[in-house]
């Protein structure tokens, strides 16, 4: 596969504009080339963003997150492939299982482009805020959490809007497209939260060791932790 930067830029532009010449034909007739393009874009965009997230904890964590964040997306997509295919057909889309998987992959590519484009800013931010071993580390950690949540929310919003546009093309009406996207989003959020929990630490708390995966990664789950946090908050 030969891919120049100019043609990649043209394809990214088309994807961001709505995918008339990229996401829609790719989903209609699945192509290995397009699959490679989307995976590479996710690896580059989300990888760069992961690097910037981890940089606050040092270069080791930056490299860990550059690998882990794209992995979280790919694992979530794979783990949800079956249920997404079923949900999409039940809720009114005319897409097959692989087509649904590819439509979601293209929306994750949009997410990767948004967060990847913001990564130069988040890299500068990681270098500019008080370090993770400084006195203000706790406060900085909380601020960074809020900031990264906003960025991920923004990327997610843009990706969901484009996924809705894509499903509107393949569904008989807007109502079923909204139903499909809502169902797929709920499934991805449900599984994605747990995958992220397993792959922690993401934004390593000050004082905790920097490591690729926690030794107790299979102890507990995301939802137990949320319930525990709620119980101990009130």
């Amino acid at each position: 596969m030969r891919l120049s930067l100019n043609s990649a830029c043209a394809t990214w532009t088309d994807l961001l504009l709505g995918g008339e010449n990229s996401a829609i034909p790719w989903t209609t007739h699945l192509q290995v080339r397009a699959l490679g393009f989307c995976l590479l874009s996710i690896a580059a965009g989300v990888g760069a963003y992961g690097f910037s997230m981890g940089l606050w904890n040092g270069p080791t964590m930056a490299f860990y997150l550059a690998v882990k964040l794209p992995l979280i997306i790919v694992i979530t997509l794979s783990a949800n492939a079956l249920i997404n295919g079923v949900l999409a057909q039940l809720l009114g889309s005319r897409l097959s299982f692989p087509q649904t998987w590819f439509a979601i992959l293209s929306s994750f590519t949009i997410f990767a482009l948004v967060v990847g484009a913001l990564s130069p800013i988040t890299i500068a931010m990681a270098l500019e805020v008080p370090a993770s071993d400084s006195e203000q580390a706790g406060e900085t950690h909380r601020r960074l959490l809020v900031f990264h949540t906003l960025i991920i929310g923004l990327g997610g919003f843009a990706a969901t809007c484009r996924l809705l546009g894509l499903f509107e093309h393949f569904c008989p009406n807007r109502k079923s497209a909204i139903r499909c996207v809502a169902g797929l989003l709920a499934g991805n959020l449900f599984v994605g939260a747990q995958i992220s929990f397993l792959m922690r630490p993401i934004l390593c708390q000050p004082g905790l060791p920097v490591e690729f995966l926690r030794p107790d990664m299979f102890t507990g789950n995301f939802y137990e932790s949320v319930i525990w946090a709620l119980k101990h908050s009130f």
């Binding site: 830029c9 532009t13 990847g116 990564s119 130069p120 800013i121």
Partner: protein, 252 residues
């Protein structure tokens, strides 16, 4: 109640709006931008004129004309204007700040442009504009050139303040005010470019505008002090958030 209504005089009849009035009103609210070439040979003066008076010519040349020449001129204008404005700021404290402030101002703007350019490209596409990284670069450069020209135009006023006050807080306030005015012009030019290029959903561009403002303000903090006497080191050793920094400067 009904009696009161009857007693009230009838409202005067308004003249019907003529076709000519309607056209004038439309022209006033939405001036037409002519997209046309700048002329045979583009000089630096032509580019300055286009930035200030004929944005349509600038847009035309950046999009489908001699974009390299125009981009080179825009860069020269921005660099010179930033250096001059920085020098005037440096006059407030004198000494090392005479060369440090212009360099820091130029470095801050260059870094801001470089790190926000990828997001301008992506957010413009999300806004419905058929954008390329080159076009996004041209759009941003045009905005920064106008911003820099406005700052350059405010140099005499800024100089008067540098000579008439010793308060870092007051000088900080005025500099922030000049910055707000200049950045408003620069960003409105970027918005105009976007609108002409086919802007459909402006919320993404508004997010980018917010990001750009925050980045430039953070740069003024990361490269401090721009106003006030130089500290022991060229760059600060303590890292700080811009809101905290500006609150401290304005409180001085």
């Amino acid at each position: 109640m009904d009696q009161d209504k009857k007693d009230q005089p009838a409202p005067p009849e308004l003249p019907e709006k003529t076709k000519v009035d309607a056209e004038v009103e439309t022209e006033e609210t939405e001036p037409a931008i002519k997209l046309e070439p700048m002329g045979n040979a583009i000089t630096l003066q032509d580019t300055i004129d286009a930035i200030l008076k004929s944005p349509g010519q600038l847009i035309f040349e950046l999009r489908e004309g001699r974009s390299n020449t125009v981009a080179k001129h825009l860069t020269i204008i921005s660099v010179v204007a930033m250096l001059v404005f920085g020098f005037v700021l440096g006059l407030f404290s004198g000494g090392e700040q005479l060369w440090a402030a212009p360099l820091k101002l130029l470095a801050g703007m260059t870094i801001s442009v470089l790190i926000t350019l990828p997001s301008l490209y992506v957010f413009s596409c999300l806004s419905g504009i058929d954008m390329t990284p080159q076009k996004a670069g041209g759009m941003l450069l045009a905005g920064v050139a106008l911003l820099s020209l406005v700052l350059l135009a405010m140099c005499p006023v800024s100089w008067i303040f540098t000579q008439s006050t010793n308060s870092v807080g007051a000088m900080g306030f005025f500099t922030l005010l000049f910055w707000v005015v200049a950045i408003s012009f620069g960003l409105s030019r970027i918005y105009l470019f976007a609108k002409i290029s086919g802007l459909i959903r402006q919320q993404y561009l508004l997010v980018w505008v917010t990001i750009f403002i925050v980045v430039t303000l953070q740069m003024s903090t990361s490269l401090r002090p721009l106003i006030g006497p130089a500290e022991g080191t060229f760059l600060p050793t303590e890292k700080r958030f811009f809101l905290e920094h500006w609150a401290m400067v304005l409180g001085e």
